[in-house]
């Protein structure tokens, strides 16, 4: 069985107090609790503070480009669907630069688990607004406040019939771990939007700000009721719900591809002599 020590990576270069630490802790705990060995998981990340996440772990890693996390994760999963594939991204990374990929990864419903470190700001580039920054937030490059409407990733995902949609909070690590434990065995694409304060650049959405608003979704809530889920996803402001907001049982991409039925693509042998017969088809 794996231990926390097995998952120990580089010393994080995040700011002291960064919301990412809680996510890292919840993730390691989840892996250990699920008994997943480091070589059985591949973490794919992009660029931003979240992009560094896999370096602070020990596991197979593809740290690619800003916004391109999901296409790489999709390719990895299609080539080896027995591998657990986790995509880690930031709000700018996934909802901004990679927005198109998010839409289509949800549509495909490939079993990739997307954990978005959502701090409602750009940290690595030092404080520009992200797609989830609240309207009116003043930044260096938005001196009159953000004009654009705040993106609601959960409502977007539900509209696309995403098969697993949840929100976590780094300040509630136990609950976040439960969400991860739920998302990982889920068949199909899973999105967890994780509220995570940027202690250096986001002076609005602080630990305190979140703590005053977040609440765990009440027991008895049915995440399979899409209309209620949509209403739940629209809650933002005085009260912000945490938990599994929506889930369904849509067919899963890797199970629909006949070629992948018996064995992962990466283990399927290739017989070069077959080409002789194919050449004959050109006569």
């Amino acid at each position: 069985m794996p231990s926390l020590e097995d998952y120990k990576g580089q010393t994080p270069a995040w700011c002291p107090g960064c919301g990412n630490f809680g996510i890292l802790k919840s993730f390691k705990d989840t892996m250990v609790d699920l008994g997943i060995e480091p070589h059985q998981v591949t973490v794919v990340s992009g660029i931003g503070q979240a992009g560094k996440f896999p370096h602070y772990l020990k596991c197979n890693t593809f740290n690619g480009l800003h916004g391109r996390t999901l296409p790489v994760a999709t390719g990895i999963k299609l080539a080896n669907h027995e591998m657990l594939v986790i995509a880690v991204a930031g709000d700018g990374d996934c909802y901004g630069e990679g927005g198109n990929h998010l839409i289509h990864a949800i549509r495909r419903n490939i079993s990739v688990k997307l954990f978005v470190h959502d701090n409602q700001i750009y940290g690595l580039t030092k404080g520009q607004p992200s797609p989830t920054s609240m309207e009116g937030m003043v930044t260096k490059n938005q001196p009159f406040g953000v004009f654009s409407e705040q993106l609601n990733p959960l409502a977007l995902a539900i509209a696309l019939d995403c098969s697993f949609v949840a929100r976590g909070f780094t300040g509630d690590q136990k609950h976040l771990k439960e969400l991860m434990m739920d998302a990982i065995p889920h068949k199909g694409f899973a999105l967890i939007d994780i509220l995570q304060p940027c202690v250096t650049f986001n002076k609005v959405n602080t630990y305190e700000w979140y703590r005053q608003r977040v609440y765990r979704i009440e027991p008895g809530y049915d995440p399979e009721d899409k209309i209620k889920a949509f209403q739940k996803a629209l809650e933002w402001g005085e009260r912000i719900p945490l938990g599994v907001i929506y889930r369904n049982h849509r067919p899963v991409l890797e199970e629909r591809i006949p070629v992948l039925k018996d064995m992962p693509l990466a283990r399927q042998p290739f017989d070069p002599s077959k080409i002789e017969n194919t050449i004959k088809e050109f006569y």
Binding site: T42, H55, N63, N100, V259, P272
Partner: protein
């Protein structure tokens, strides 16, 4: 015997079906065949044509002189009548074109009426196919076999209906064409008929490609269609991506995961992939990119041909890393060079390009056979037990050759880590200058000379002591070769064809003693000539550039060349 047939009409009239069927009849009859297509970027209407040349001697290009024009629209007549050979004929259906042509070279065949009499008017193009075969006095047996192969899945009725209408066209031409004096030579052993795009796709199949992701874009889409059709038999996943950025990143993910992966696009789509190309360079992830050039900038002439992206392919992407660029000249080269692309991509863990254009993609060539034993397949990845036994694995380990072991994630407890940031041997992010320098040496400087050794010299065709050397690359192989054949009768002339272009194979050889060296390219600025000068310091004496989106023909290239010969 050397006949050319042009089938012209609007998009949606079945021009390609007639062309494909006739070409197949001729190749099965054992003739050498060359086909090319000219079409507009539309689903219906416009004017398109399909041209077929066939001969008992090897042929590698189209001629301008046409023996039979099959006209489904008036443009086929107004635009191409002057291309007719001395004994050439135009067949058309006066009721469909709503015009009667009284000149002696016209033969009015009621395609539609014969089709209706025998079944259905949608089979008018099968009547035309039969009529052409009747004009050539080519027995319908081979045609009938092709109809069985094509339609037997749809039922015997469909097969028989097609045979009947073709026979009606055949008989009509036989009875009403006293001027048809075509004399085809006797049949030989059947030949295979393959297009450039099929050559690339077949090369991917033969190389064990298991993952292909792309966004549809002319002229590359044929690769995706072909591989999707073979997916089940060969175990290939074909994924249509939401955009080209995703396409290349998916392919890189699949390659990282342990399978041979490829993507394909045209110049505009490749522009979106450029960031991912750099990612392949940094993460040393093998990938093959098929890049179909077409006239640009921007959308340009989407369905036409150009060689305008050579320097783009060579220079694209931020940063410095090794790459390989191949530009096949024939479907056969497309097959073997795509295979070599997969081999080198994995051997050196670098991106490799197969660049082509619409002309090569859509041109059909015949071969007696393609030799499958020339296909290389070495699995350079470290899998299964071999990976399990490997101690202290580091994905980007420093080695003598710069090539680090490429482990398949999950096959061993060893972890496979890579990063778009500069990284250490394990693959983890770093900032220090010492590691950076060693990584650049490993990734780029150590590999480059080894890759260079794999690149073949250009192909010389013609005499060893030429006064005139025609230099070309990629799809111009066929037309330049035919020009050399013709001109060699009274001149010392040779062709130098480059298909393995980058790293550049240093060559001066015969150029130094030649009086006239002409670089022929399908672009406006002479990109290959510039590359040649940059790499060797040598400047060609002349250049011929065509950039109207149409391919060179033997006649128009000869015309351009004759303009230079006064200077010899």
């Amino acid at each position: 015997m050397d006949y050319s047939i042009k089938i012209g009409g609007e998009a949606g009239q079945g021009i390609q079906t007639i062309g494909d069927t006739l070409a197949k009849v001729f190749s099965r009859a054992g003739y050498h065949v060359f086909t090319h297509q000219d079409y507009e970027s539309r689903i219906r209407g416009g004017h398109n044509f399909f041209q077929i040349r066939f001969s008992e001697k090897p042929i590698t290009a189209s001629r301008e002189r046409i023996d039979i024009i099959v006209a489904f629209d008036k443009e086929s007549i107004t635009l191409h009548e002057n291309e007719l050979s001395e004994n050439g004929l135009i067949i058309y259906d006066s009721s469909a074109l709503k015009q009667k042509y009284e000149k002696p070279q016209f033969l009015d065949i009621p395609f539609v009426e014969l089709a209706v009499q025998q079944g259905n008017k949608i089979m008018a193009n099968t009547v035309a196919t039969g009529a052409v075969l009747g004009m050539l006095r080519l027995d319908l047996d081979i045609f009938n076999g092709i109809m069985h192969d094509t339609f037997s899945k749809k039922g015997e009725d469909v097969v028989q209906a097609n045979l009947n209408v073709a026979k009606a066209g055949f008989d009509f031409a036989l009875q009403n064409c006293p001027k048809c004096i075509f004399i085809p030579s006797s049949f030989g052993e059947p030949k295979m008929l393959i297009s450039g795009i099929e050559g690339i796709a077949l090369g991917a199949l033969a190389s064990g490609c298991k993952f292909y992701s792309a966004y549809p874009m002319t002229p590359s889409t044929g690769i995706m269609n072909y591989l999707a059709g073979k997916g089940k038999e060969y175990g290939i996943v074909v994924e249509q991506a939401e955009d080209e950025i995703s396409a290349i990143n998916m392919a890189l993910g699949a390659s990282f995961s342990g399978v041979r992966a490829m993507t394909g696009t045209a110049g505009g789509g490749f522009a979106l992939m450029v960031e991912g190309l750099s990612l392949a360079g940094m993460t040393e992830t093998p990938i093959v990119i098929a890049l179909g050039q077409r006239p640009a900038p921007a959308t340009g002439l989407p369905t036409r041909t150009e060689q305008g992206d050579l320097l783009f392919a060579i220079h694209a992407a931020h940063g410095e890393f090794p790459r390989v660029v191949f530009a096949p000249g024939t479907p056969e080269q497309a097959l073997y060079l795509t295979n070599k692309a997969f081999d080198l991509a994995e051997k050196f863990q670098v991106p490799v390009f197969v660049i082509f254009d619409q002309y090569l993609a859509d041109s059909g060539w015949t071969y007696d056979r393609l030799d499958a034993t020339k296909i290389r397949f070495n699995d350079y990845r470290i899998r299964g037990d071999a990976f399990k036994k490997l101690k202290d694995y580091k994905r980007h380990a420093f080695t003598e050759t710069g090539v680090s072991p490429l482990g398949v994630p999950g096959d061993s407890e060893s972890l496979v880590v890579t990063d778009s940031d500069e990284h250490d041997e394990e693959g983890h992010i770093i900032e220090d200058s010492g590691t950076r320098v060693k990584m650049v040496q490993k990734r780029l400087l150590k590999k480059l000379p080894l890759i260079r050794q794999e690149i073949a010299q250009p192909y010389l065709y013609g005499g060893n002591d030429p006064d005139i050397v025609l230099v070309c690359w990629g799809s111009l192989y066929g037309v330049v070769r035919e020009v050399v054949d013709i001109m060699a009768k009274d001149k010392k002339i040779a062709m130098l064809h480059f298909s393995e272009i980058y790293p550049f194979p240093y060559y001066l050889g015969l150029l130094k003693n030649a009086h006239l060296t002409v670089c022929i390219e399908q672009n406006a600025t002479g990109q290959f000539a510039r590359l040649f000068r940059a790499e060797t310091g040598y400047t060609f004496t002349h250049s011929i550039n065509r950039y109207d989106g149409r391919p060179f023909t033997v006649e128009n290239l000869m015309g351009e060349l004759h303009a230079f010969f006064g200077r010899l």
